[in-house]
Amino acid sequence: MISEAFLYTGIFLFFSASLISLLKRLNSFVYILSCLGSLSLVIFSLYLLIAGPVSLSSIPLSSIYEFSFGGDAISGFFILVISLLVLSVSIYSAGYTKDMNSRGLMGFLFNLFVLSMYGVVLSQNIITFLILWETMSIVSYFLVTFDRTEASSKAGLIYAVMTHIGTAFIIVLFLILYSQTGSMNFADMRLLSKAIDQPVKDMLFVFAMIGFGTKAGLIPLHTWLPRAHPAAPSNISSLMSGVMIKTGIYGIIRIVLDLLGGGPEWWGITVLVIGAVSSVLGVMYALMEHDLKRLLAYHSVENIGIILLGIGASMIFKTYGLYNLAAIGLIAGLYHVLNHALFKGLLFLGAGSVMHATHIKNMEEMGGLLKKMPYTGLFFLIGSISICGLPPFNGFVSEWLTYQSLLLGARTPSIVSKIISPLGGAALALTGALAAACFVKAFGISFLGMPRSRHAEDAKEQSSSMVAGMAILAILCLIFGIFPGLIITTISPVSFLITGSYGVSTEKGFVIVNESLAGLSPFVLLFAMIVMVLSAMVFIRSVGGKRSIVCGDSWDCGIPSLTPMMQYTATAFTKPIRLIFKRIYLPRRELRVSYIVKPFFVKSIEYSGEIVPFFEHYIYEPSVSFIKRAAQRLRLLQSGSLHLYLGYILITLILLLIFGT
């Protein structure tokens, strides 16, 4: 009962926040309300995870349909993820939206968006799920197009189209499930799904991967992501990338693992391969982006891929009844869901602060921001280390667990899984290295060195609420990195629910994989590092004594005055990788040299280069132009004459009358 009270309090707070926001006053108050609401839901989610499922009273819509809500450990975990991010994003938004023109509308949509995400993970029947899913998509569409620029409305259009293609698949999926089980409730479906024929199940799996994969941004369904996320205001991109795309993962887990209860081996292998491809290609495209937010958006593709690597491994193990191993993969995937929400949320907020301060998106014009915005810079650095999966931050633990589950793939009886899963591990290693390269670039070019433009030079640290919002996430990244036991204990009810096993044990700060006895203790690592730093300092002092530090210019090869233009650029930084992987990037470059006297006196040199985005160029554009051409043909029907249209209706009606009866 108490747990439900927390849920209703939270929902009430979000509702009132959205309504108060329409009054266009009390901007900070609105976000304080949403912050309190998310706190209340954090408590509710912990109840769900610890005390078990809760069924909430349903709201009847008609005699057949009803809004039915309820929570179990899976929803509890996703509520926890959403709430933790909403908590800090709402604090951040109080400062971020202060100077916004239509901030009343922003607060309204923000809270509605959060509510719809909670609704999606709490839905217990297909009607409720679909209605809230659509609400979420539509509200987020309005948020993407919030700035009402041409770019954002184009991004919004692509987002709307892609997300509705996904929704179409989800609707068909649910209709098939309904026709096979005769029930709309998830609870009944779970019981009755065992009787479904295997080919139908396979179809359901494919539909779920396409439908939810579109929302999650799997390659090749990712095209909306790098457009929509940069177009939205930064607090929203943080939420969209941090948690909204996770509802896709939630859908996959709910349908494939929970309702259908897993499937044959090829399901798991498919998920694993898609995960590997998404992670590697996602980070590769991210590396070539110089727009800070687009770069982060591509990293979302990468991280969803990493999450799927864990989940795919888990599915393979479940097929073979290796439940202890399945639990490890699932824990790895879910841990990464949480981690990605935190560090990607943090990075988007950081990017938002940078853009708020400099009004530029392109990192080639940034530089030296760490000195101008010390806190933002520090938190962005923490986010970068976390996303690269480096210790002692949170990304490390989940990637480590993913490696463990992939390596244990050698214990399956199937030769295909034995080969595929370590190769998935190699893909993860490649992803990790590319991500590190990418964030050395992102942080190094934008925050280090000298300012490359006037805007970057004039940047100022942002308001305290924005800094506080980022600080919370940065601290959480560290805490979840050095005390992984906290999270693994929280996730284990979910893994127990799905696989019936715990898989990973946590004792005295150690994470130990039960099956292979591989263990990890990030806290000890951090402690040892701190001890080593201190002893290094003491050692230096005792050997070298006190020495002064002289400040001077950077080494300029004897040519006086090094200018910011001489620094390495983001394009130059990534050039070796662009050339090495030219089969994937298909780079184009153009060099235009004009001479006064050829070939001796050069007047000007212009260089332009770009990469060809493979999927857009070879899959989406041809299909779009095909549809356009077909539509052009069909346009004959659209004469513009009202009477002709009425004629179509009349003919249809008559034909229906004749053939329909």
Binding site: A429, A436, G519, V524, M532, Q567, Y568
Partner: protein, 305 residues
């Protein structure tokens, strides 16, 4: 002993570098500096004042400490002469690679911090090499981990014994290429030059001086010896002590010294007989090694050994 065996790596790392230099000089018909030269260099650097660029932020100052401490912590979880390790629960080989990764990350950032083209060039190349090497090093480790049943280094070392299968040999070749790349040696990088067209590692350290430079160099030596030790632990662990008896320990120390000497000889041999590759020819070398690593994994899985 269980807490301090990493000190062996920490203290003897400069010596190993000195030995390699000496061997290399002898092979090339030179006398070369004494094998203790790296120690003198480090002490000299520790006693010098530092020049730090105005452009640099705190990242530049923090990086040497992060790089040094992460490398040392990585060496703490490696069995050197005995598998009785203080951190035996967490002696994880994947964690080790990632801890070293933290160091690479910070060196690369420090390279970009001064705002010079050399630093940026070094960072860019270092990260490119890392991109090519990391998957390969992971794959070789996977072969060992799968045969050892765990990623725990103690288990790998103890179970491995003296088994030599085709897959291990393939993995060893790949791993040696990885060591060459990671330690910045010919044919990937040239440790003895400051010519901007070729340098990778040195480019990032160009702005460092005094004690920061000393820390960076020392960390580099430690990393080199650490990778040698890792190769020894994974591929020919025979002779390592699994108890605490003094006799076993001393024997193990002797055997370990011989193995390290062999690794030094191998490195010197490679450096003396190969030429530095052009940067864009690296993918073919590293790609070849990657194929070896994949083959080793496949052959292990297919043949079961």
């Amino acid at each position: 002993m269980e807490y301090i065996q990493f000190l062996i790596i920490l203290l003897f790392a400069p010596l190993v570098n000195g030995v390699i230099k000496k061997l290399k000089a002898n092979m090339q018909g030179r006398i070369g500096p004494g094998i203790f030269q790296p120690y003198y260099d480090l002490i000299r650097l520790f006693k010098k004042d530092m020049v730090v660029s105005n452009v640099c932020s705190w990242v530049f100052r923090v990086a040497p400490y992060v790089v040094f401490s992460s490398t040392v912590v990585a060496s703490m979880i490696v069995p050197v002469i005995t598998t009785r390790l203080a951190f035996s629960h967490m002696a994880d080989v994947i964690a080790l690679i990632y801890i070293l990764g933290l160091g690479i990350f910070f060196i690369a950032l420090a390279g970009l911090d001064a705002g010079t083209a050399f630093g940026g060039e070094g960072s860019s190349r270092e990260m490119t090499v890392a991109v090519l090497v990391e998957p390969m090093i992971m794959l070789t480790i996977f072969t060992a981990a799968i045969s050892g049943g765990s990623t725990n280094l103690i288990k790998i070392t103890e179970l491995q014994g003296a088994i030599y299968t085709p897959s291990h040999v393939l993995a060893l070749f790949a791993f040696i290429v990885a060591i060459v790349a990671e330690t910045g040696r010919i044919p990937v990088d040239n440790p003895d030059t400051h010519l901007e067209l070729t340098m990778i590692h040195e480019g990032m350290l160009l702005e460092y001086s005094g004690r920061y430079l000393a820390l960076m160099e020392w960390a580099h030596y430690i990393k080199q010896m650490l990778l040698f030790t890792l190769a020894i632990d994974i591929f020919f662990p025979a002779g390592i002590a699994i108890t605490f008896e003094p006799v076993a320990l001393i024997t193990a120390l002797g055997i370990y010294a011989l193995k390290i000497l062999f690794m030094c000889f191998l490195m010197a041999l490679i450096e003396s007989t190969r030429a530095k590759l052009r940067f864009f020819q690296l993918p073919s070398l590293l790609g070849g090694a990657f194929v070896l690593a994949v083959l080793s994994l496949l052959s292990y899985v297919m043949m079961g050994k």
